[in-house]
């Protein structure tokens, strides 16, 4: 039964239609949750005892960083599905992930820098999280670069799928090796957050923002993927109806 659903979703006309209908159901809740999270994070949450109001950058930095990683995994998974089952829809999803993931990785880096400046005294620190985030950005850019350099869509799909899969294997390796490397060169100023003991008034807006960003990614993905599916489609019959 699940297999039937899987193949149905993988059929381009179905995907195109369902994705189109699903998008508002992700986009509007994302907006509402985001507004609620913003209000909670900027207005309601009390200032942190150590970082004052500066900690509020958390509410955009953490969801961006989460997206940067999650999107890469989605990209690699859908690339693998596309490669193994030769599904154009899966390749379309993978292609759609890349620009979204790259931009939120860059955002995570910049907000991390803006957070670091008042806390560490410097815009850049070779902190394990910033460093592995920077490397993640390079992985995205490499993926996008490879896709752009191959003209034929099917080959670009499959080559970048191999790259995405190799990269995703490497993401935890990069993450842990950078942590290990950094722990050896640890600068005395470690950013403390009191994370496990974050009070609900601080935590709830974070969860709302996290959820909002995730739903936003879903909506963006569906929008882009529909276009990517169209680009890969040869059969005309459903397109004329769908686009009429």
């Amino acid at each position: 039964m699940a297999w039937v659903w899987f193949h149905k979703f993988g059929s381009p006309p179905h995907f195109y239609r369902i994705a189109g209908r699903l998008t508002p159901w992700l986009a509007w809740p994302a907006l509402l949750l985001g507004l609620a999270g913003l209000y909670g994070g900027l207005v309601l949450a009390p200032a942190d005892y150590q970082q004052g109001d500066g900690f509020r950058i958390l509410y955009v930095h953490v969801p961006s960083a989460w997206l940067s990683l999650m999107v890469y995994v989605v990209m690699a998974l859908s690339a693998a599905v596309g490669l193994i089952w030769r599904m154009n829809v899966a390749h379309a999803v993978a292609a759609s992930c890349a620009p979204i993931g790259a931009s939120f990785t860059a955002l995570a880096l910049v907000t991390g820098m803006l957070w670091g400046r008042p806390m560490w005294g410097t815009y850049w620190e070779w902190d394990p999280r910033l460093t592995s985030e920077l490397l993640l950005l390079f992985l995205y850019l490499g993926y996008i670069g490879l896709r752009n350099s191959i003209d034929e869509v099917s080959r670009a799909d499959r080559a970048s799928a191999v790259l995405a899969i190799v990269g995703v294997v490497n993401v935890p390796i990069i993450h842990y090796s950078v942590i290990w490397w950094n722990s050896l060169h640890q600068a005395p100023s470690v950013m403390k957050f009191g994370k496990p003991t974050m009070p609900a008034s601080m935590l709830v807006p974070l969860l709302l923002m996290w959820l909002a960003f995730t739903l936003l990614f879903g909506a963006l993905l569906l929008i882009r993927a529909r276009g990517q599916v169209l680009r890969r489609e040869r059969a005309a019959h459903w397109i004329r109806e769908a686009l009429a």
């Binding site: 490397l135 993640l136 992985l139 350099s149 790259l163 294997v169 990069i174 090796s177 490397w181």
Partner: protein, 229 residues
């Protein structure tokens, strides 16, 4: 499908002997990455203070940046000739497991470009102020590191096989994947120079090399097949 006439080990050895023979006709090609490595490690003392006791601190970085960049340069050799004259396609179609044949090619490539680096790196390290006692550790680190880099780089070379000479894209693809090798290799080198046991990063380097050896053949076969279309 009928089994091919030649058993796999014999076929792989045949390929390796052929690659070696061809490469040794043009030794300049294989020595180029080595020369590049030596130039880079020479640049560091020129750009910094030539005082050996200070260079010692920079030696791990200089060695590994040099190793990484010369590996990158060396990758050009891997599929260039066979890709151009169609031999690579013949290998893909000949009926032997493509992944094993590509692994054999990568092994020869390492022998030609990585092994010289392994021999020279301890000497370069000494020139940068490392004590003689560090040579063993440095040797092991560069041995494992160049093996891993050859394999990782080969995957990148396979992916960019059919592209117009775009060396910078290859670098962009490979460098993030090569960072763990750089980190552990430089760490092992630094520990060896300081006279401390370098077992931990060496084991991690070995793990990376083994991981690369396990995954790279699959990725290589997939990448080169796609690149050959």
């Amino acid at each position: 499908m009928n089994a091919p006439a030649t058993p796999l080990p014999a076929a792989a050895l045949l390929l390796m002997r052929r690659d070696l023979r061809l490469a040794l006709r043009r030794p300049g090609d294989s020595l180029l990455p080595l020369g590049f490595f030596l130039v880079i490690t020479t640049l560091f003392p020129l750009a910094l203070d030539p005082d050996l006791s200070q260079l010692r601190d920079v030696a791990p970085a200089a060695l590994w940046v040099g190793a990484l960049l010369s590996s990158l340069l060396a990758l050009d050799l891997l599929f260039r000739d066979d890709g151009q004259d169609g031999a690579l396609e013949q290998l893909a179609l000949c009926g032997q497991p493509f992944a094993v044949l590509l692994l054999a090619k990568a092994a020869v490539h390492w022998l030609l470009t990585g092994l010289p680096l392994v021999c020279v790196a301890p000497l370069a390290a000494v020139a940068l102020g490392a004590p003689y006692a560090a040579m063993g550790g440095i040797l092991s680190a560069v041995l494992l590191g160049t093996l891993a880099l050859s394999l990782i780089g080969a995957v990148g070379a396979g992916l960019t096989l059919s592209l117009r000479r775009n060396g910078s894209l290859l670098a962009l693809l490979i460098l993030p994947l090569a960072v763990p090798v750089l980190i552990f290799g430089a760490r092992a080198t630094a520990l060896a120079i300081a006279g401390e046991p370098a077992a931990a990063p060496l084991y991690l380097l070995a793990a990376l090399a083994v991981l690369a050896a396990t995954l790279a053949p699959w990725a290589l076969a997939a990448a080169v097949r796609i690149g050959l279309e």
